[in-house]
């Protein structure tokens, strides 16, 4: 688990760059970001709109940190989990 502090004004593009740096993921390697929401479901973030929603809900629940799962891959098809992803 890697921990960092980011400004609440971080953009989706900036977040991806930060994640790539922290996780040592090459620029050309596709990644998938998912956050665990207040119902325990992994929600994919692929846009600024979805990132803002994650921050908004996180601020409401006031948890200690926004937990992001980073997958060094993309789903084989839309709607599928990422390779290696399971409920654990």
């Amino acid at each position: 688990m890697l921990i960092t502090d980011l400004a609440a004004t971080v953009t989706f593009v900036e977040l991806c760059e930060e994640v790539r740096t922290m996780c040592s993921v090459a620029k050309q390697q596709p990644i998938t970001l998912k956050w665990i929401d207040d119902e325990g479901d992994p929600c994919t973030i692929s846009s600024q709109m979805e990132l803002e929603e994650a921050f908004r809900i996180y601020n409401r629940t006031k948890k200690s940190g926004l937990l992001l799962h980073v997958f060094p891959s993309i789903p084989e098809r839309p709607g599928m989990p990422c390779p290696g992803e399971d409920s654990e």
Partner: protein, 133 residues
């Protein structure tokens, strides 16, 4: 198009929180309750968010009673928006039946439950027949 619309934080009270499920994928975003737009715009937004621009979808939502209701026109779309409190749970399925069924949708769960009940009843009948031999 609504796809670029964002809800400012000072209008959070009028926000509808959309939680959309397509297969194993969840997506969350907000809509302005006072300006939900038309169904076709919303449909396009869902396709855009889930990265499925060429997939024809069946859109359903869970109402306050837990029933799965369709969203396929402006009327039932606005009804769904009006009942969101503020969460609107969406379940998306491909119209194409060729795609593997989503194991977690209410419809498929109901189908499994029905098949299981019938299997149990058959086994029970057969056990009674064996027992009477």
């Amino acid at each position: 198009m609504n796809k670029n619309q964002r809800v400012p934080s000072n209008r959070s009270l009028s926000a509808v929180e959309v939680k959309s499920k397509f297969g194993a994928e969840f997506r969350r975003f907000s809509l302005d309750r006072s300006k939900p737009g038309r169904f076709d715009e919303f449909y396009g937004l869902l396709q855009h968010v889930h990265r499925i621009p060429n997939v024809e979808l069946l859109v359903g939502y869970a109402d306050v009673h837990g029933d799965l209701l369709p969203i396929n026109n402006d009327d039932n779309y606005h009804k769904a928006i009006s009942t969101a409190s503020p969460l609107l749970r969406l379940f998306l399925q491909r119209k194409d039946p060729g795609f593997p069924p989503d194991l977690s949708t209410p419809h498929f769960t109901l189908l499994l439950s029905t098949i299981w009940s019938q299997l149990k009843r058959r086994c029970s009948v057969q056990m009674q027949q064996i027992g009477s031999l």
